[in-house]
């Protein structure tokens, strides 16, 4: 956006692609691309629902707003990805968010993990943000122009999420004995769910240049994590990976409760708006 027409009353910044624009596209994604969009959209949607819990519960009012902003960014990404996925099956973003059952969600286990204390949430944010940044910064080169456009908007926002989590990792790790203890515990609880992010399921082979092969993100992710943990004087936790399977619709016990809360209003009052 040019600075000349920037103003406090302008709601939609710049020329970023909005979900409403995606819904009007002439092109439909292939089934494989739509499934892939579901992966990324469900990660963002479930993470946003988890983060929303912090509103009014964060350590300070300022942090309430910071986490709420991050959640809203993620909802924005989810709306774009789900709208695009829905184009393949004549479904709206709401159809997909509110009227799918648990095994139809394609999110990874990491995003459904409990918030725990603030340090555990920061540990989860740290992993998600670094992963999403590596992913979106490559997805901008996708052969699918809609995925590339969604990624171009998302990568800038996720860059801020990355910074937010890193600032807190450094402060909690080097704050008091108690904050350091909690940061180490938070990373340990989060780490089993890292491996699943980089698993190449068969769908990846059908995407060609439209998607990003998850396993190729592992090295840059590890390097970025290592740099921050060294600065924070922390060790990467040595814990075995979890079973995973979120991309195949196999979830932990947490997701059912999350989508029950997410969907109850839309299912109780179909077509409700507010």
């Amino acid at each position: 956006m040019s600075e000349a027409n920037a103003s406090a009353t302008r709601i939609t910044p710049g020329n970023a692609l909005r979900p409403e624009d995606i819904a009007l596209l002439d092109t439909k994604p292939s089934d494989a691309v739509a499934q892939y969009a579901l992966w990324l959209g469900d990660d963002a949607l479930i993470l946003a629902q988890r983060l929303g819990w912090w509103i009014s519960r964060a350590p300070e009012l300022e942090e309430d707003v910071a986490l709420a902003n991050i959640a809203l960014d993620q909802i924005g990404h989810a709306r774009s990805f789900l709208t695009y996925a829905g184009r393949a099956w004549d479904k709206t973003e709401d159809d997909l968010a509110y009227f799918r059952r648990e095994p139809e969600f394609r999110s990874v286990h990491l995003v459904e993990q409990p918030n725990g204390d603030f340090a555990r949430t920061i540990a989860r944010q740290f992993v998600v943000a670094l992963y999403q940044w590596e992913l979106y910064s490559r997805l901008v080169g996708s052969s699918d122009p809609t995925l590339a456009a969604i990624a171009a908007k998302a990568v800038k926002e996720v860059d801020y999420h990355r910074d937010h989590s890193i600032q807190w990792i450094l402060r909690l790790a080097q704050g008091t004995d108690e904050s350091r203890r909690r940061m180490i515990a938070g990373l340990k609880l989060t780490w089993p769910y890292v491996e699943e992010l980089f698993t190449d399921y068969p769908l990846v082979d059908e995407l060609g240049d439209a998607g990003v092969r998850p396993s190729t993100l592992r090295e840059p992710f590890d390097a970025a994590v290592r740099a921050i943990l060294v600065e924070a004087e922390l060790e990467p936790p040595e814990v075995p990976g979890s079973v995973g399977g979120g991309r195949l619709g196999r979830h932990s016990e947490h997701l059912g409760y999350i989508i029950a809360e997410l969907q109850v209003l839309a299912r109780e009052y179909p077509g409700a708006s507010w």
Binding site: E3, A4, A6, S7, A8, T9, R10, I11, P13, S56, P59, E60, L61, E62, E63, V65, A66, N69, Y160, D163, H164, Q167, R171
Partner: protein, 115 residues
């Protein structure tokens, strides 16, 4: 909230509510936002943050979320020296009645062009 000041007007007061250990509130920062290039930074409000870098990020989250700014300053509230409201008379009344301090007080001399 679990204690601690969040309203921005009692930064030095220790939190008292709740059974947990009382902890010091984060210090108060004043936020200045520049809305576009060429304009000056304008005071937007205040916030709490543990240090300067976090204050800058909190300012981004609290005061630029509707596209208000292109640049931010944060200043520790304790670094701002304010005039005393009770000393308004000796501070601000003196210029009243001194119209000759305004250019418009003077009449243009004959023959002066381009004024």
């Amino acid at each position: 909230m679990t204690g601690g000041s969040t309203t921005g007007d009692d930064g030095a007061k220790a939190p008292s509510s709740g059974p947990q250990e009382p902890r010091a509130a984060w210090p108060l920062w004043e936020v200045f936002v520049r809305s576009s290039r060429g304009l000056s930074h304008v005071h937007a409000g205040s916030l709490h943050a543990p240090d300067a870098q976090m204050a800058l990020r909190n300012a981004r989250d609290l005061y630029t979320r509707r596209n208000e700014g292109v640049s931010l300053w944060v200043v520790p509230a304790t670094s701002i020296i304010t005039s005393d409201p009770d000393a308004k008379d000796q501070f601000f009344e003196s210029p009243q009645g001194k119209d000759y301090r305004h250019a418009t007080y003077y009449t243009k001399s004959e023959g002066v062009k381009h004024l």
